[in-house]
């Protein structure tokens, strides 16, 4: 008798991966939960260097750049509508350097905090509240606050949807926007 395949067999079940440790990025007008592993480092907002050129399309989409370990990284700032801003808000005191594979960039925020718990309710974004310009498709509810479950890869996709092409890191690590 040929062997039968039981699709309920545990050996055929997809491997379960534990939920990644996440950190809470407080963007001021929005909040995200990001995998802690995506965060390279935190830098003070005062290290931002405003780009000298202001007429290019890229200048309108970045706040400038920040240097870390002799590399330059573009700094982005999002408002409540998740549109790119060319200047930091006063509450943006922290620059979070994020990395996905060979691409890295900094996102301005008010604070970045480790979550005390990995247990929180998660809901899919309903279709009537979804947009391809949201860097998440589900969100956690912590208190009365919705925090989008996002990642550096999701944020790169949002930047791309906003017309910014973040290049893979070259030898000098510069990232540029195609505008």
């Amino acid at each position: 008798m040929p062997p039968t395949i039981n699709d309920q067999s545990p050996s055929l079940a997809p491997p379960t991966t534990p939920a990644p440790e996440r950190v809470h990025l407080d963007g001021g007008e929005f909040g995200l939960l990001l995998p802690a592993a995506d965060v390279v480092t935190l830098l003070p907002g005062k290290l931002l260097t405003v780009a000298a050129e202001t007429a290019s399309p890229l200048a309108a989409q970045t706040c400038g750049y920040v240097e870390f370990e002799q590399q330059r990284y573009p700094v982005f700032c999002l408002n409540k509508a998740l549109q790119l801003q060319s200047r930091l808000e006063t509450h943006h005191r922290v620059l979070v350097l994020l990395r996905h594979q060979q691409q890295a960039f900094a996102l301005a925020c008010s604070s970045l905090n480790k979550l005390d718990t990995r247990e929180y309710p998660v809901y899919p974004v309903p279709r009537s509240m979804s947009s391809r310009k949201q860097p998440f498709t589900s969100f956690a509810l912590i208190g009365d606050t919705a925090l989008g479950l996002s990642s550096a890869a999701d944020l790169l996709a949002l930047l791309q949807a906003r017309g910014v092409q973040v290049r893979a890191q070259a030898a000098r690590g510069a990232l540029q926007g195609a505008g």
């Binding site: 279709r127 009537s128 509240m129 979804s130 949201q134 919705a146 989008g148």
Partner: protein, 158 residues
């Protein structure tokens, strides 16, 4: 009594002078919403939802959608009609419509129906029927069209 004579619609006040209609069996509950939750990256008419019986219910401000003007009501307790509709996958889903007054159940006779084309343009794409009562025309909202579409898709057709 025939089925035709049993038609009924709920009139939902969405601002001080405007009401829209939904089917008699589409309205499930009326709730006062004390704490709504906002998601970023959305037009204001659809950025809010709330937790209700362990479900997240997306809420629409139909007045904002149609008028393109932001409601003056911000962060106050708001009344909402919790509705049910069949989504494109054939499953029942829920949503909410913010209210400015108490809904009223209205008996509607078939001869009260009017063509959707007779509604104001802004309502024509949001309604799947319309009727007239006491010289007032009411759009009957197409709940699937409202709740089972992304805001980009809805605004593109509106």
């Amino acid at each position: 009594m025939s089925q035709m004579q049993e038609l009924g619609a709920w009139l939902l006040p969405i601002d001080q002078t405007t009401a829209v209609a939904i089917g008699r069996y589409e309205l499930k509950y009326i709730e006062y919403i004390k704490a709504s939750v906002r998601l970023p990256g959305l037009p204001s008419y659809c950025e809010q939802g709330f937790l209700w019986r362990n479900r997240f219910i997306p809420a629409l401000d139909i007045h904002e959608l149609v008028s393109h003007r932001r409601s003056r009501v911000v962060d106050e307790e708001r009344m909402a009609a919790i509705i049910a509709y069949e989504n494109s996958a054939g499953e029942m889903d829920m949503g909410a419509i913010f209210l400015r007054g108490i809904p009223r159940l209205l008996p509607v006779k078939p001869q009260q129906s009017v063509a959707i084309a007779e509604l104001e343009t802004s309502w024509q794409l949001l309604a799947h029927a319309a009727f007239e009562d006491q010289a007032q025309r009411y759009p009957v909202l197409d709940l699937r069209a409202l709740f089972d579409r992304t805001p980009a898709d809805l605004l593109a057709m509106h």
